[in-house]
Each structure stands twice: as C-alpha cells, then as structure tokens.
Amino acid sequence: MSLTSPWRADFPGILALAAEGQTYLDSAATAQKPQAMLNALLGYYASGAANVHRAQHVPGERATRAFEATREKAARWLNAADAQQIVFTRSATEALNLLAYGLEQRFIAGDEIVISALEHHANLLPWQQLAQRRQLKLVVLPLDAHGLIDLSQAAQLIGPRTRLLAVSQLSNVLGCWQPLEPLLALAQAQGALTVVDGSQGVVHGRTDVQALSCDFYICSSHKLYGPDGVGLLYGRPQALEQLAHWQFGGEMLLHTDYANARFRPAPLGFEAGTPPIASVIALGASLDYLGSLDAAAVSAHEAALHAELLSGLRQRQVLRLLGTPSVALASFVVEGVHHADLAHLLSEQGLAVRAGHHCAMPLLQGLGLSGAVRVSLGLYNDGADLQRFFNALDQALELLL
C-alpha cells in the first residue's frame, strides 16, 4: 500500500522537479507553491501593478484592498482577534530582528533573555546581539534526551530577572513540538514577554495564537506554501504598543517636518518602504488554498508519511536519529560517515535533502556533531518519494560503508 497525496497535482513545482528526476524532500527549507498562488502572483502583475496605501487611483485602491485582504486572512489563519495585529515583514528573520530592535529600550543591563538550545539562528542571533549591546544575560534552556526543552531546568532558569522568553514551537532540526504552554506560563509568572517562533510549527497544524496566549508569534510565508519575501509578526495589542519603531521611511508616519516625526502604530508603522505587494497578495491565495483543504486529511497524510519515514530510518541500524521527531521531518547521522559525503551521493541520485548544521550551529555542536542529514516533508510528498529516498540512501551507504 503506497501513500499518495491527493494534493500533489496542485503543485506544479513538485511535478516539474519530479519530471526532472528530482525528489524534493526539503520543504522545511522552503515549500513548493500551489497553482493558486502562482495565478495570484501573475494575476496581480498582469492586471496592473500599483503601490499600496498611497494612491487614490483605482489600481492603487485595488492593490491595497488585495494586500489588506491577506492581513485579514492571516489573522483568521492564526485566530488573531484583529487583522491590525498582523505586521508584514520580509521574512521570519526580519520579524525577529524587528522585535530585538523594537524592544531594545525596554531592557536594562543585567536583565535576562531566555531562549532554548535548539533555536534557529534567526531566533538566536538577534537576541545574542541585543544582549551584547545592552549587557543583558542570554540564558539558554537545555534539552532533554528527546529534544524537548527540559521543563524542570526551565523552571530553575526562568526567574525574576527574565524579561523575555523566545522559543521555537517546532524545531527545524529535531521535529518535535515544544511544551509551549508550561514554558510560556513560567515566563508569564515572571512578567516576561513571550515570543514564539512558529516558522516550522505553522506549517504542520493550525495554531491559535489567542489560545497560545503568547505576546508575539512569528512565521514565514515561503515555508507555508506562499511566496518568499514575506514574514508575519503577530502581536497582542499591549505587546505591539511596547515596540519602538525601527525602520523609517515611506508611509509609516503620521506627520513629519525636517526635524521631527510622529509615527503610525502597528501594523503600518512597522512596514516602512514599499512592502512585497505581489507576494503578500499571493500569500493570501496560498492561505485560501490551504483553507480549502480537508485539514484532518492533510494531518493524517503527513502523519502517515512521517511514520513511514521514521520506520524506514529506524530499520537501518547504522543510522542514528537526532532526538525523537514527532512530525514533519527527521534528521540523522551515520556513525563513521561524513554528512557531506552522504548528501553528495544522495544529490547525485536526484534526492533533494538537506545536510549541514541547518542554521542551528550551537545545537549541532552541543550534540557533538558537525552536521546531519535532514529529510523534511510537505503535503505533496507521497510514499514513492520516500521509497526513492530509501533506495538512494541504501546505495549511498553501500558506497560509503
């Protein structure tokens, strides 16, 4: 019985790659796009581009309406109470930088920022650099043997000096859901702000930001089957009010003379310059497409694929899995085999998987590894993709072992 994806044909990119002999198993890096998104992108440009929030003319109004419609759709997707709580950025990375700069004035020397050992560089470096600028202490929560943030240690480490907690919902290396509820509760008990990096998590199940009750939630369009060049920053109203403006120009202001300016509140006050209009509009089309799917069927398909991936990996005794992945992806190493060699031989056979440190260098270092191979899944992958991967893996290992 082979798993087939009923949605595969909706993704011209996955079909084109397959026709070229490429098996795409790197969706955690970026996902292929549905035809509906491509249509929206072309449709916007082909029917007349215009800038948003500026012009009174018809094309400008039309672009602005479509652009703002995506804000509504994104808010609905995340169950934010109001579309005005969604800020468009250029990437998840930019959203996290926005927070680190926008909150900078709120910290005083000796304050603590808490992250975890598995953070992507995007959720490490902005805080690390902020800590250096302001003489703050960066506290790193350790993981347990499964790759989950260790709650008992977190309870010790999150304390009265903690001003902010920033953690991933789902690790891009270990593929496990983090225990956000108790972690956020620990931070909130200290009056700290909470930031959740949902870049991976948002792709593999609906997130309800109100139920999660974080102050900020970040994710990225290009991993969520949308175009690149767009990140989303959700904030609670009281949290957004704490942000200082950070990039200046364009229409983000209320009034300026040569010497001084007053700025708009979020979201527009944090969207300086011409935004990625076409991409934002096209993200709306991706969200519409995703919304039209049977969410339970998608989850079931992803779960079945992931189970098949894990069982195949576990059958091969020479492999060692990193952590205990529960969804979306799995990373592994082979004793005595360099990940670069394995990646090379897989790519020779048309397998698009990822090898290296996955933008989580300290995590890999902590595990005593220079890198690992990661297989990651999208809703368009099927059992045949995994079969091709395992065949290629066996051939590669035969050469290398």
């Binding site: 360099h338 670069a340 060699d341 090379h344 031989l345 020779e348 056979q349 090898a355 290296g356 220079s370 890198g371 051939q395 050469l399 290398l400």
Partner: protein, 138 residues
Amino acid sequence: MSLPTAASEALQAFAACPSWDQRARLQMQWGERLEPLSAEQCCSEHLVAGCASQVWLLGQQHEGHWYFQASSDARLLRGLLALLLARVNGLSSEELAAADLLDWFSQLGLGRQLSPSRSNGLNAVLQRMRAVSLGERA
C-alpha cells in the same frame, strides 16, 4: 598545454566511468592517494574558511614550482582535492595563474561540484590556493 602525468591519468580514468556510482567510487579512491597531513598541519592556520566540511590546504614553492598538500574530513571532498592537486602540483606561478580549474573539473565530469550553491568548499579551496600562490598567505 601538456597536462601533468597524474592529471592525464585522472582524465582517462574518469572518462571510463560513465555512471554516478562508479565515478563516486573512483573519486574516493583518488582521495586515498592524498598524502596524510600531520596533526600540526591540520591547524586553524591552514583551515580553509567557508566549507561545510573541514579542509586544510598548504602550499610551498620549490625551485619555481608549486607543491600543495590538502586534506578534509569528508571523503568525496578528499577525492576532489586529490584531483585538484594532480592538476596543479608542479606548475610554475604563471602556469598556476593560467590554469582553468573550472574547466579541469568539467573535463572530469565533476563541474557541478563547483556550482555556487555547493557548500562543499571546493570554491573556497581554489580561492585559498590563489591567495597562497600570490603570497597573500603563507
């Protein structure tokens, strides 16, 4: 321009290997030809920055000819390094400067390994080699 003997040998061997797995095997066999580096030679001074795997490169001139030594912790990359050294060792500075190394790897059927998205580090190795031969770095 006449090729060094080892280079001609490599060209023949790779031309005789059409399939990816034969070529990979051959590439690894070439890697085994690399003279091992001593622990002192594998130091940060000789480490080539910007590679996904660790690569060390040393070069010296002897009576007007260049001799490089290299190694890596990745086997396929060791093979590429051996193939590189087969092409460049013994060249004068002028010959080295004139050598088209991209073309060299393409002739071997390994040109794709120099594509910019590759993080295997061969490009960084070539840059370092150039720098060493120009005396920018010992």
